[in-house]
Amino acid sequence: MAQLTYRASVSLAIAQSMRKDQKVFFIGEDVGAAGGVFKATVGLLEEFGKERVMDAPISEQAILGAAMGAAMTGLRPIAEIMFSDFLAVCWDIVANQIAKTRYMSDGQINIPLVIRTANGGGSKFGAQHSQSLENWSMMIPGLKVVAPSCPSDVLGLMDSAVKDPDPVIFYEHKSLYAFKEEIEQTDISIPIGEANTLHEGKDITIIGLALMAQRAKEAALILKDKHDINAKVIDLRSLVPLDLQTIKKSVIETGHVLTVEENPRLCGWGAEISSLISEHCFKNLKGPVTRVTTPHVPLPSADILEDNTIPSVELIVNEVIKKLKGE
């Protein structure tokens, strides 16, 4: 049994996948000798050598293109896009090529690759290095979208992502890299598409992802301790495939729902969940699905501004209270 950080679980997860399958290799910028800007790939170059851990030029399109082409032959590349914000410079490869090629080829081509990327705010890096972009990939048919909230999920979901025959975008949250967990067994697998309950409760359903799932859990603890409210916290873990059954089951029980998204409001994943709940559980709802999101603004940089832009534990607590007690 060992304490593992989220950061360390990333490199361990990659290493485990690479040990198991010679077809797995890793490409990214500054990932080898330097172990990555977030130190999440330390040790990989040493263990697997330059042929399997490749330092690339600043050429995100070429990185993902090469990963895609290699995947088309049956290899299983893991490609790093250093910050998820940089998906924008290679968005054509992601959204138009990787996502659509299987379908357009009538299933002739499989693209079993993983794109892992550092996502989310909290580091005061400003508007171009802090975005939460899970919804960018959720909206593209053909992409699976995973966003682990803790070290064991990193381990288990990375294992599944690498084995998955389809392209998976794996969003690691920058503000979780230092998050620690006691791990008994590191070589684990968690199926993609199964949500995780972080807190049990029948008064309200709070749905979160990544950092927001952890904040929702903290909020649930406070709600229980201080306000006698029992919130069920669902960590979606993946947006595609989506565990709609778990959501439905809880909503039927609670009748109240709060989604907590880190992205700016418009067309966030919470909008999709809200519309789904509305369609599937309309009669069970005691009130509208409330969406807690970052306001629809780019992320500011200064501490005070960033801290007050991204949904906080306090905000979640207050929104739940307002919702349930009308305060």
Partner: protein, 334 residues
């Protein structure tokens, strides 16, 4: 005058090339006829006039090698041995189409033949082709990857990224720029800082400057073979600029009126790769009967394939929901 004594190519290969080019020509012409009959919807980009390039590579490549082409990819697909009905059927949106109508004319794909897809957004496929080349290197197998694209493609960012990466990783890949003098309607020289859009950039990636007459099938074959061998021997990438011209407009919607009449006439009459190659075959004393027999054979093949594809049913509506995922379906929730 041809030097018959030092013929490095030989009759057999020449006839192969002849047959190949003719097939590409006649299928494209058939595609054109089918548009006129309104049997092909959507758009379509013909490579009429550019057959020597795809043809030469078709002859020079081995089974197992990978090719990547663009929306103007019927010829490149056929050149790898894909069936004519597979191509025409796809254009017409029939079940016999290479992708059952799901991809359409701009996305022809035939993995069994090494046709790793046709890509309709400029530049992307250069980066993807690096990937199959990387796989060959990674697996220590010796396939070669070939990526075809146009002159206009040399001005997009992905071109630059792909070439640099191919060179630094010494990938077994051949980049083939078919310089047909125009992007869609804009003359390439009006939007390009250098005269030779690909070749004048080769130095930026420490590659040789290679310019070839893309309408001279023999020269094209020699150039292709050399670059392919180099890649296969682990000596890295090449960038070839092949000068050529499209006989028709950019796409179905385009009558090509922005091009000077004399220019079009010159290329059609004096520089047609097929017309000229026929003459060359005769120069090499190849029996005209053999040449004509091949013509007849191909015509016949094209007609038969046309019948097959016209008889092929349209796809079933349920195809909409298949093959988003490797499990064959399109479900995104449980």
């Amino acid at each position: 005058m041809v030097d018959k004594l030092n013929d490095d190519i030989g009759e057999e290969k020449r006839l192969q090339l002849w047959e190949m080019m003719l097939k590409l020509r006649l299928v494209e012409k058939k595609a054109y006829d089918l548009f006129l009959q309104n049997l092909i919807k959507g758009t379509s980009h013909l490579a009429l006039g550019q057959e020597a390039i795809a043809g030469a590579f078709g002859v020079a490549l081995k089974q197992g090698d990978y090719t990547f082409c663009t929306y103007r990819g019927h010829a490149h697909t056929l050149a790898r041995g894909s069936s004519i009905e597979g191509v025409l059927g796809e254009l017409m949106g029939r079940q016999c189409g290479l992708m059952k109508g799901k991809g359409g004319s701009m996305h022809l794909t035939d993995v069994d033949k090494g046709v790793m897809g046709s890509y309709a957004i400029i530049g992307a496929h250069l980066t993807i082709a690096n990937g199959t080349a990387l796989a060959s290197k990674y697996n220590k197998t010796n396939e070669v990857s070939v990526c075809f694209f146009g002159d206009g493609t040399t001005n997009i960012g992905a071109f630059h990224e792909a070439l640099n990466m191919a060179k630094i990783w010494n990938l077994p890949i051949v980049f083939v720029c078919e310089n047909n003098l125009y992007m869609e309607y804009t003359p390439i020289h009006e939007v390009t800082a250098v005269e030779h859009p690909a070749a004048d950039r080769a130095g930026a990636y420490d590659l040789d400057k290679i310019i070839v007459d893309g309408n001279d099938a023999d020269e094209m074959l020699r150039t292709a073979e050399k670059a392919i061998s180099k890649a296969r021997e682990g000596k890295g990438p090449s960038l070839i600029e092949a000068k050529t011209y499209r006989h028709s407009g950019h796409s179905r919607a385009d009558p090509g009126k922005y091009r000077p009449d004399e220019e079009v006439k010159d290329w059609m009459e004096n520089k047609d790769p097929i017309k000229n190659y026929r003459a060359k075959l005769l120069d090499f004393n190849i029996n005209e009967k053999i040449i004509s027999e091949i013509e007849e054979k191909i015509k016949d093949q094209v007609e038969k394939a046309t019948e097959i594809s016209m008889a092929s049913p349209i796809p079933e509506i349920k195809e909409i929901y298949t093959d988003v995922w490797a499990n064959g379906g399109s479900e995104w929730h449980n």
